[in-house]
């Protein structure tokens, strides 16, 4: 599932020595900026094998060295706390990069060095990239890189990656370190009591052969931390591992009694103690601190009074930008493909080939590309929010609301985007860190009524409800969607996606100016991934749906008995087959066909209704004629029209959304589940509304 953004020509890799660099660091430390500064546009984006954690790779030639850079997920630590941490750790252990560049935020040194100490413990060659030194200086802090390097025992290079300052030197030092290694890095010493046990465990491990590829000291420390991954490895790979683990349990109990805290806390405390000491020596703070802009902005942006209004205004701005400014280019694409279709239709003789090309392929490609402007604009805004630091403030402001439905504050944005279009909304779930939160949000986002469903509501309310009621009727459908999303989120979190609530322990990084290159790359990356990953499936499925709606054609002279041609096709027959199932909802086979076709895209429901009512499509008169025809049909009552709206709201979103859901969840199973649950839910709710309505005499 590798999606290539810009494929660089393989730079005669075999001829030159390749140096494999892993780029690590805390989130918000400017890791992506460093990555971009090193590799430029020569990047590939894909996933780590077996997980949906994104993996970026890039390359670069420096002198005679071919440097291959892998961007590890941003983490605060190398414990097994999150998937990202496990991925980053396992990459370093399994792939053994020649050097790890640890990007450290100079303005937030203490917490950032915490990760550094863990890389050092892991026994890999580390180069510290002391990024954003300009920020630290503006805060009145100057850092003695030489002294810091001496204290940590690893090379330290100061950079300002957003201006590409120091990046060349960083690469030179990294290459040198990769070739020659560095001197003995300074391990954190954990105090006598802990060290005694660490030494004891190291001896036991060494005696048993240890774990391959990692220092026994590291393993011993992880055992004391009760790291489940490492415990599992030891039990499996070390002879006598089980007894060793029993011994560790005893040591942990002993430590708890002596130390008064559990071993993890004591170890974390010691690491921070070590860092604290290093910072105390290497950092000098001038007395006068510059104006703290972040604090000033936050006083307004997250204040009790203005926090929510500002959040709402920004969300409204995002919505407007994506869907209003996205509309014209979408229109251009649409008419462009329309023109292309007409041209093709003019050049090709009538027949199946023309139909396949025009309705199937050109229509399908258009259906894929039409979302690109929206996706690019959305990720423009998301990128600006994330890079500037506002995203975490937004989550901070609305977390309480989202917390009630068992989700994280950041889930708000995808759900909001869902009102515009489900496709970018599902892609926006990437901002969520926890997989459970991502899946829950992905599963309920389709219930946010997207823009494509509106034409269906408008057509039906126009035909069956008084104009003064129409607005209220449509609004009630939107509200129903939100309520169902809340309900389903709660149900999912307490059934299939159970687990502890994601703790909301989130850094609020200082506000920063986003970089142009970072933002553009991000937009491009997302759009291209969408085209590559979801596009191919949407295209294939569009052709299939086209075939279902077109074949088989009735033989010449066949008496359709007044029924439209579509009734003879597979989709038409399917409509008949499912009629008994949808009968309790008040639907007949004609509605069945429209709903089947609507799986492709919700707006197709309108077009198909028109076809089944044998109305020639012609812009203006078309919709009025369809309304008239529907009103004459005895099956249609206002109640049935309302139930149909309910069904359209809930049942599986369009092909594009399903393709994206499949890609983003990383599994067919989740797609199948989403289709199954939305269909069932749509049927159930429609059934309740229809039968309830009839019982109340509304039929």
């Amino acid at each position: 599932m590798v999606c290539v953004v810009t494929k660089a020509a393989p730079l005669a890799a075999a001829a030159r020595p390749e140096i494999r660099v892993a780029l690590a660091g805390n989130p918000n430390a400017g890791k992506t900026t460093v990555f971009n500064a090193i590799t430029g546009a020569r990047q590939h984006v894909g996933n780590y094998p077996g997980v949906t954690v994104e993996k970026k790779e890039g390359e670069r030639t420096v002198g005679d060295a071919f440097v291959h850079v892998v961007d590890l997920p941003g983490t605060y630590s190398l414990t097994a706390y999150s998937l990202e941490e496990v991925v980053a750790r396992n990459y370093v252990i399994d792939e053994r990069p020649d050097v790890v560049i640890d990007v450290v935020d100079a303005s937030n040194l203490e917490r950032n060095l915490y990760l550094t100490t863990q890389f050092i413990e892991l026994g890999v060659s580390v180069v510290v990239c002391l990024n954003m030194v300009d920020m630290a200086e503006s805060m009145g802090r100057s850092i003695d890189t030489e002294l810091l390097s001496e204290l940590l025992g690893v090379p330290v290079v100061a950079t300002v990656a957003s201006k590409s300052e120091g990046v060349e030197e960083l690469l030179t030092v990294a290459i040198q370190t990769a070739r020659d290694g560095h001197g003995a890095a300074r391990d954190v010493r954990y105090g006598r009591e802990l060290e005694e046990h660490i030494t004891e465990l190291v001896e036991l491990l060494e005696g048993a052969g240890g774990l391959p590829g990692v220092p026994s000291r590291w393993v011993a420390i992880k055992l004391l931390e009760d790291d489940q991954e490492v415990c599992g490895d030891v039990a499996r790979d070390v002879p006598g591992g089980e007894e060793l683990l029993d011994h560790v349990v005893r040591i942990r109990a002993h430590l708890e009694a002596v130390v008064g805290d559990d071993a993890e806390l004591a170890l974390a405390d010691r690491r921070y103690g070590f860092i604290n000491g290093a910072c105390a020596e290497a950092v000098t703070s001038s007395a006068e601190e510059a104006v703290d802009w972040t604090e000033r902005i936050d006083r307004v942006v997250t204040s009790r009074v203005l926090g929510i209004p500002i959040f709402l205004i920004l969300m409204w701005g995002m919505f407007e930008l994506v869907f209003r400014f996205g509309a014209p280019p979408m229109g251009w694409l649409e008419s462009g493909f329309g023109w292309l279709g007409t041209q093709a239709a003019a050049w090709l003789p009538d027949g199946p080939l023309q139909s396949l090309l025009v309705d199937g392929i050109i229509g399908g490609v258009g259906g894929v590309l039409i979302f690109v402007p929206q996706i690019m604009l959305l990720f423009l805004v998301i990128s600006l929010f994330e890079d500037s630091g506002y995203m975490s403030r937004a989550a901070f402001v609305v977390d309480k609301l989202m917390h009630h439905i068992g989700l994280h504050g950041k889930s708000f944005i995808p759900m909001l985007i869902g009102f515009g279009c489900t496709v970018p909304a599902i892609m926006a779930t990437r901002t969520l860190e926890s997989r459970r939160d991502r899946l829950t949000t992905m599963l309920v986002t389709p219930l946010m009524s997207c823009g494509a469903r509106l034409p269906v509501y408008v057509l039906l309310t126009g035909a069956f409800f008084a104009p003064q009621l129409a607005g209220k009727v449509i609004f009630s459908i939107y509200v129903l969607g939100v309520l169902l999303a809340v309900l389903m989120a709660r149900i999912f979190r307490s059934t299939i996606l159970t687990g502890p609530l994601t703790p909301f322990v989130m850094e609020l990084p200082p506000y920063r100016m986003p970089t142009l290159m970072g933002t553009l790359l991000h937009m491009w990356e997302r759009a291209w991934c969408y085209i590559r990953k979801a596009g191919t499936m949407i295209l294939a499925a569009s052709v299939v749906i086209w075939a279902l709606l077109s074949y088989p054609t009735p033989p010449a002279g066949f008496d359709l008995q007044g029924e439209p041609e579509i009734a003879y096709t597979v989709a038409g027959r399917l409509g008949r087959v499912i009629e008994p199932v949808i009968r309790p909802l008040g639907f007949d086979w004609k509605i069945g066909i429209s709903l089947t076709a609507g799986m492709a895209a919700k707006e197709v429901v309108v077009a198909t209704l028109a076809t089944t009512y044998s109305i020639e499509e012609s812009e203006e008169t078309g919709s009025t004629a369809v309304r008239e025809a529907m009103r004459r049909d005895p099956i249609f009552t206002p109640l049935v029209a309302y139930v149909l709206m309910v069904f359209v709201l809930i049942y599986p979103p369009c092909l594009a959304a399903m393709a994206v859901l499949w890609r983003e969840s990383g599994s067919w199973k989740w797609l199948a589940f989403a289709v199954a649950y939305t269909t069932t839910l749509a049927w159930l709710v429609s059934f309740i509304v229809y039968q309830g309505g009839r019982a109340l005499g509304l039929g």
Partner: protein, 251 residues
């Protein structure tokens, strides 16, 4: 910090005893004090009268004994001093715990606030020195056991047993201890302990919320939850639910 110089050694011991008992049981009776210090009831009564006169305790005849706020501050200082000294004797000089404790009892009364401060700094410096104060200390202990010279001191040094060090228990709860979610915006505090689910504790530790870390509550979110704090020079947000698992001592 209250100047403890006005107290005699024995009154200091009584004050410490009352403080410890109050923390342990909540209420303190004369009989308990007598048992704790190891004296007879009448001696306690006269000591209490002296402490009451200085405004350190409230004592109803035949009733319960309670420390005044002033008494509590003084007692806390005494306890801290006692602990620091014990830690120094045990962890740095390598005396065994029992001996460290008993010698600390005798030395402590002579220590001024300034000496205590310096002693704490020395402890901190050695424990946390980035150049490996710990290794340095280990070498020194070795040297004591195998002295390079054969002077007479070797005989007493040989007595030194392997120390049971307990540098982490320094964060003790006091009566003012509370949890992070109860601090108001603008209030500062020091982390004492973390409790709660292991996953969350682990994350909090990784983010720098370890015992001793200083924090300041910056603000509450507009809806009252989560909260934003400053710790180790950066800003962190967490829900009140998570903050409730963090015991802090307001500063």
């Amino acid at each position: 910090m209250v100047d403890a110089q006005t107290l005699t050694e024995s009154l200091e011991d009584y004050l410490e005893a009352i403080y410890q008992l109050q923390r342990k049981n909540g209420t303190v009776r004369v009989k308990e004090i007598a048992e704790f210090v190891g004296v007879k009831m009448p001696s306690v009564s006269s000591a209490l009268a002296a402490l009451k006169e200085r405004g350190f305790v409230e004592h109803e005849r035949y009733g319960q004994v309670a420390l005044t706020p002033e008494g509590r501050d003084t007692a806390e200082f005494l306890c801290r001093r006692h602990y620091a000294l014990t830690a120094f004797l045990r962890d740095i000089l390598g005396l065994d715990a029992e001996r460290a404790e008993s010698e600390a009892c005798r030395i402590e009364h002579a220590l001024s606030a300034e000496t205590l401060r310096r002693l704490l700094m020395l402890l901190d410096f050695i424990e946390r020195c980035p150049r490996g104060g710990d290794q340095w200390l280990a070498r020194m202990l070795e040297r004591w056991e195998n002295p390079p010279c054969q002077h007479e001191c070797a005989a007493c040094v040989a007595e030194i047993a392997a120390p049971a060090c307990n540098p982490f228990a320094s964060q003790r709860d006091t009566e003012t201890a509370t949890t992070l979610d109860r601090l108001d915006p603008g209030q500062r505090g020091k982390v004492l302990r973390l409790s709660g689910e292991p996953q969350i504790r682990r994350r909090l530790m990784d983010m720098g919320l370890t015992p001793g870390a200083e924090i300041e509550v910056e603000r509450l979110a507009p809806l009252g939850d989560p909260i934003e704090i400053e710790v180790r020079g950066y800003h962190l947000s967490l829900r009140k639910r998570e903050a409730a698992g963090i015991a802090v001592e307001p500063v």
